[in-house]
């Protein structure tokens, strides 16, 4: 049986075909099982080196990748920006060459500037995994979100999904928009006008599903099968994007009352970390509708699957 995913890097969801995405999701299943065993390890990537190169603080995602690598028996090494020479003004080419000299098999990179994983992928032979580049993409997050939805709903085709919040600065929104529309979902976006970027409705291009930017959050939530809440950063308040946290949470926060507008079996997702009481109320976070913790568990399995598919790709 042939596998429809044979790439050196995972840089974005946008460049993936629907078949590739489905192949990845189908592969995740077996990896999830490993985390239920007594010995949570398979020898597949024994002797391989995975470098986590994080220019942005992120314990959660980095830990997830670290655990994923170790469960595949790979050696996992963390490099954070303050430890590298990049903060001293090293060029990207030098960063790449220094990494290459350590002969890693995969480099997981998170960076505050869009495009860095792509710029590096041309310069190194290792597999590059984009763990988040600026506001551009966060492919593994979208994959674990899709897997979580599919686990609960059976299939993604035809689902109504609402993505709410600071779309402008969100790589999670973009990656999810690409993935969900490619797999046939009807995606509805809502948030403060100041935080919705221009021409967002054109993002999906010609995909199977549909993409609508709604005027009001209630329009997006109404009848939804999945509601995805995005984290709002308090700093945006100081940059004149919205007046106050209080106003934000009243106008755009997800409460049980708002959630009642959605379909009766609607599930709630959030990429984390959660701002309780701001974009999402505690009652919703702690309710049975929330699959936030499932997302985290699935994150490890998804990342194991990605490491496997990239590092053990068919080089023949």
């Amino acid at each position: 049986m042939k596998v429809a995913f044979n790439r050196k890097d995972l840089l974005s969801i946008r460049e993936l075909a629907a078949e590739e995405i489905l192949t990845i999701l189908d592969t995740v299943e077996s990896f999830k099982q490993i985390s239920t065993r007594d010995i949570k390890k398979v020898p597949t990537l024994r002797g391989k080196t995975v470098i986590n190169l994080f220019f942005e603080a992120s314990t959660r995602t980095r830990t997830s990748f670290e655990i994923a690598a170790k469960r595949m028996s790979a050696d996992s090494i963390n490099i954070s920006a303050s430890n590298s020479s990049v903060s001293k003004g090293e060029t990207l080419i030098d960063t790449a060459r220094n990494l290459e000299a350590m002969a890693p098999d995969a480099i997981v990179i998170r960076h505050p500037s869009a495009g860095v994983p792509q710029q590096l992928s041309g310069m190194v032979g290792a597999s590059i995994i984009n763990a988040g580049d600026g506001a551009h993409e966060h492919p593994t997050q979208a994959l674990l979100d899709a897997y979580t939805i599919r686990e609960r709903k059976g299939s993604l085709d035809g689902l109504q999904v609402a993505i709410i919040g600071d779309i402008s600065h969100s790589r999670v929104a973009r990656s999810n928009t690409h993935l969900l529309t490619k797999l046939g979902c009807h995606v509805r976006i809502a948030g403060p006008r100041t935080l919705i970027p221009p021409d967002y409705e054109k993002l999906a291009g010609d995909s199977e599903g549909s993409l609508t930017v709604c005027d009001h959050i209630d329009d997006a939530i109404s009848g939804s099968d999945v509601v995805m809440m995005l984290r709002i950063q308090r700093e945006r308040m100081n940059e004149a994007f919205f007046p106050s946290i209080k106003e934000y949470s009243i106008q755009y926060g997800l409460t049980l009352k708002r959630l009642a507008l959605a379909a009766p079996d609607c599930i709630v997702l959030h990429p984390g970390p959660v701002n309780r009481g701001v974009e999402i109320s505690s009652e919703v976070v702690d309710s049975s509708r929330s699959l936030i913790l499932d997302q985290v568990a699935n994150g490890v399995a998804v990342r194991m699957a990605i490491l496997f598919l990239l590092v053990e790709r068919n080089v023949a």
């Binding site: 192949t23 099982q33 790709r313 068919n314 023949a316």
Partner: protein, 181 residues
């Protein structure tokens, strides 16, 4: 890859008979079915394990539990083989510790698949004993591994391939010897 059919090793009836023999040998050696667990190695070891379990049910009025093992993640040759196989679920419904396990596969050749299956199996726990049942043993071992129960021994050359065809996956039920062209 193109194949040239050279000989039919077993027809459908032959397969059924071989399974019966394997089932009774397993029951005899294990003195019944208690603590028995049949684990089929994907893909074709799985339906074989099921059929052996069914036959044991007929003989002993007790069907041993069955599981399935996907050894892809334990292979030693992943990046060099052709189109990469899909990784499928490994499903072992019972705790393996203190069990008498019989691994079931269709063809025993180099022994590497069984080596990978053993590595994976012990990651699940500590079986009391592990045995191996195969429909066909075609020789050419590259590791010190042997089957405890064999349906048929077939002499082959390296350029030949044994194809076990089962109704679960293929059109006709038979075992054939083909030339790799």
């Amino acid at each position: 890859m193109e194949f040239k059919l050279k000989a039919q090793i077993m027809d459908a009836a032959g397969i059924t008979r071989a399974i019966s023999v394997l089932a009774s040998q397993i029951v005899e050696r294990n003195v019944g079915t208690s603590d028995l667990l049949l684990v089929g190695i994907r893909r074709r070891g799985v339906p074989l394990a099921e059929r052996i379990a069914d036959k044991i049910q007929q003989l002993e009025n007790d069907r041993p539990p069955t599981g399935q093992l996907d050894i892809t993640l334990y292979r030693d040759d992943l990046s060099t083989i052709g189109p990469r196989p899909v990784v499928n679920r490994t499903d072992i419904p019972e705790d393996v510790t203190d069990r008498n396990i019989v691994l079931v596969d269709d063809v025993l050749y180099t022994g590497r698949t069984v080596r990978a299956a053993l590595d994976e199996l012990v990651d699940f726990g500590r079986p009391r004993r592990v045995e191996l049942a195969v429909l066909i043993d075609r020789g050419h071992r590259e590791l010190p591994i042997q089957a405890d129960y064999v349906g048929k021994y077939v002499q082959t050359s390296d350029s030949e391939i044994i194809k076990v065809m089962l109704s679960d996956y293929d059109e006709e039920e038979q075992v054939v010897l083909v030339e790799n062209e």
